[in-house]
Symmetry: C2
C-alpha cells in the first residue's frame, strides 16, 4: 500500500478564525512542511515549528506517523504548493501556493496542476493508493468548491466549534469576486478550483483521476475535504469506483451528512474509530473533544490497521507525542497542558452548503 | 536504518567514453531521475528510460530496490542537481546540475550546497545513516577531486574496461582550466569540488558532515566515489569515525588499493559479495563481468542483508529485472540479450591518481 500525500498552502488559511492548523497564523504556513517531516522522520527536522492547535493538540500527522511505525507503508509526499521549505522528500510537480479565495483567482494554473498530477497518478505501478492531504484552511476551500459545484455537503473543522458562518461568508465573497455563485460552476470542476479552491485539491483530484484511469484502486483519505475532491472527480466525469476513508471524529461531527454525501457521490465510506476514549492521554482527549479531527491521511492510515494492532498504534502515538514535546501531564513547557479547558462542544452544527 | 540518496548530474558525463550509466549520451541525463524512481516505486514511472549499460546491464538501482523489497529500509532521495524531472520524492536543497569540469568552475555554489546539506544532515533524528549517490560521470569527478587534493587513490568505472587514461586527461584539462594542479587544493576540499567536482559530492559530504556532527553514525555507500567524499571530509577536518560500504565488484577491480585508501583515510571498509556468480541470470553475469559494479547505494544496501536473506534478494533482483524488461534469455526485445559478448576483462588497471 502506498500513501500519497499532497501538501500545500492557501492564503485562505490566514483569514481570521478559519483554521486551527498551527498555534499562530504566522507559523501556520510552516504546518504542512512540518507535517510531512513528521511523517518522513518521526518529528520536525528543518521546519521551525511543531504543528499543534492553539490548545496543544498535536497535528494528525502524529497519528499517521504512529500508524506507519506499526504497519509500515510507503509514503510519497507531493509538493502541492508548500510555502516554506521542508526536509522531507517531495515529488515536484511545479505547484505554487494558492491565493486567498476572495481574490478573483485562487489557483491560476489549476488545469495545468491537474494535468501534471494526472500524469503522475497514471504513472504509478501500484495496485492501490490512499491519497491524503495537508493544507491549512482546506475545509474553507472545500466549502468553496462544494458550493461552486452546487453540492449540498457540509464541511468539517479542525476547531471543536466549527466557524461555519465565517466560512460561508468567505465563500460568498470568493464566489462574488470570481463572478460566480452557488452552483454556477456545475460541470466545470477545475474552473471551480481555479476560482475558489486550492492547489492541493487540483493535485489530489489529478492524481486520483490519473490513477483510476490506470486501473489503480483509489481511496481518498480524509473527511469533508475529500468529499469536495470526490465531487470534483464526479463533475469531471470520472465514474470509476471511489472510496473515502476518514476518522470517527469527522463522522461524529457530520452526523448523517457524510454518509449522505458519499451516497450521492457513489463513494464507499470507511470510518475508523481509533479508540482514543479508552485512554487518558491528553492528546487523545483533545481529539475526542473534537480538535483537529482529521488530516494528513489520518483516517485512511487508521483504516489500514488490523484490530489487534490498534493498541500498538495508540502506544506509538503516545511515543510520537512525547517526541514532539507533548507530554501527557502538564510539564510546564507550555506545549501540552493537561487542563480540561477545552471547548468540548463538538456537536455538529448545520454547516450544509447552500 | 535510513538510506539517503543524493542524485544529480554533471555535464562531465557527456564527455565521450566516460560513463556507462545509460545506453546513450542523450538519455544519460535521465539516468539518476530513473534510478530514484526505481528505488521509490520499483520501476521507472515518469522517466522515459530504463537505465541499462550499452550491453544491457541494469542499473545498480535494481539491486538496491531488490534489497529494499526484502529488508525494508527508509529512503530519502536528495535532489543534488537532477537535470530532468523525476516522479520520485526528493528533498529539495536548491542544487543545480554541475558543469563539465573542463570549465573554469564545475560547481559554482559548492560551498552553499555543502552548507545546506550540512544543515539537512544535522537535522535528522536517525541513529545511523547510509549515504549513497547516483551521478553519471561520478568516477571522473571523483578522480578530479582526489587529484586536486593530492590523494593517491584510484577510481573505478561502470565499464568493464576502465577508461582511466581518458579520465586522467579530462582531469588534467580540468585542473589546468581552474588554475590548479595535482595536490594544489590540499586542505581546501570545497574549493576542489568547486573547481573539478560535482554537486553530488558537495551534497554527500555536507550531509555526512552534518550528521556526524549530530552524533549520527554515517556509512558512505559506494566505491571510489565515496573514497573521494571521505577524502573531502578528512581535508575538511572532520575526524569522526567513518565507514565505506561497497560491492565486491569494485573491490575486485581495485585490488589492494581500496583498502589502502580507506586505511589512509581512517575509514572502516565493508565489502559485500552478493553471490551473483552462483546464478545463471544474464544481469548477474554482467555484474560479475565488471559492468556497473556499484552505485545507487548498492554496496551499502547489500551490507544490510543478513546472510540467510541474500538468496531472497537475488530472487527479488530477478523479479525487478523482469519488471524492467530485462529478461534472462534473449527475448528479442533488445534490452537484454544473453550473448556472451561482454568485454569480460575486469582486471584492475593501474588507475591510481598521480
Amino acid at each position: 500500500m502506498r500513501v500519497i500525500l499532497p501538501a500545500g498552502t492557501t492564503e485562505t488559511a490566514l483569514i481570521d478564525g478559519i483554521s486551527a492548523a498551527g498555534a499562530s497564523p504566522d507559523l501556520m504556513e510552516h504546518t504542512p512542511s512540518a507535517d510531512v517531516e513528521i511523517l518522513a522522520y518521526g518529528k520536525p527536522t528543518m521546519a521551525p515549528v511543531t504543528p499543534v492547535s492553539p490548545n496543544g493538540c498535536p497535528t494528525p500527522a502524529a497519528v499517521t506517523r504512529a500508524v506507519r511505525e506499526v504497519i509500515d507503508f510507503d509514503v510519497s509526499v507531493v509538493d502541492a504548493g508548500l510555502a516554506q521549505p521542508t526536509g522531507a522528500p517531495t515529488v515536484g510537480l511545479g505547484v505554487e501556493p494558492g491565493a486567498d479565495i476572495r481574490n478573483t483567482v485562487a489557483v491560476p494554473d489549476a488545469q495545468a496542476i491537474f494535468d501534471r498530477a494526472h500524469a503522475y497518478g497514471a504513472s504509478l505501478p501500484d495496485d492501490e493508493l490512499l491519497v491524503g492531504e495537508t493544507v491549512p484552511g482546506g475545509t474553507t476551500t472545500a466549502l468553496g468548491v462544494l458550493t461552486a459545484l452546487g453540492e449540498p455537503a457540509g464541511v468539517s473543522s479542525s476547531l471543536p466549534k466549527n466557524p461555519i458562518e465565517r466560512k460561508r461568508q468567505v465563500v460568498d465573497e470568493a464566489l462574488t469576486a470570481s463572478g460566480g455563485s452557488a452552483g454556477s460552476f456545475d460541470g466545470r470542476p477545475i474552473e471551480a478550483i481555479h476560482a475558489v479552491g486550492d492547489p492541493v485539491q487540483a493535485t489530489v483530484a489529478g492524481i486520483a483521476a490519473g490513477a483510476l484511469e490506470s486501473g489503480i484502486d483509489v481511496t481518498l483519505a480524509g473527511g469533508t475535504q475529500m468529499v469536495a475532491v470526490a465531487t470534483v472527480l464526479r463533475h469531471a466525469g470520472v465514474d470509476a469506483p471511489l472510496s473515502i476513508a476518514t476518522t470517527s471524529f469527522v463522522d461524529r461531527e457530520q452526523g448523517d451528512r457524510l454518509g449522505e454525501a458519499c451516497y450521492r457521490l457513489n463513494c464507499a465510506l470507511t470510518v475508523t474509530d481509533p479508540g482514543f476514549d479508552a485512554r487518558e492521554h491528553v492528546s487523545m482527549a483533545r481529539y475526542c473533544a473534537g480538535v483537529a479531527k482529521e488530516g494528513v491521511a489520518m483516517g485512511g492510515a487508521l483504516s489500514l490497521v488490523p484490530d489487534d494492532r490498534m493498541e500498538a498504534v495508540l502506544d506509538r502515538f503516545e511515543a510520537v507525542c512525547g517526541r514532539l514535546g507533548i507530554e501527557d501531564e502538564d510539564d510546564g513547557n507550555g506545549s501540552g497542558n493537561g487542563n480540561a479547558d477545552d471547548p468540548a462542544n463538538s456537536s455538529p452544527e448545520d454547516d450544509r452548503a447552500p
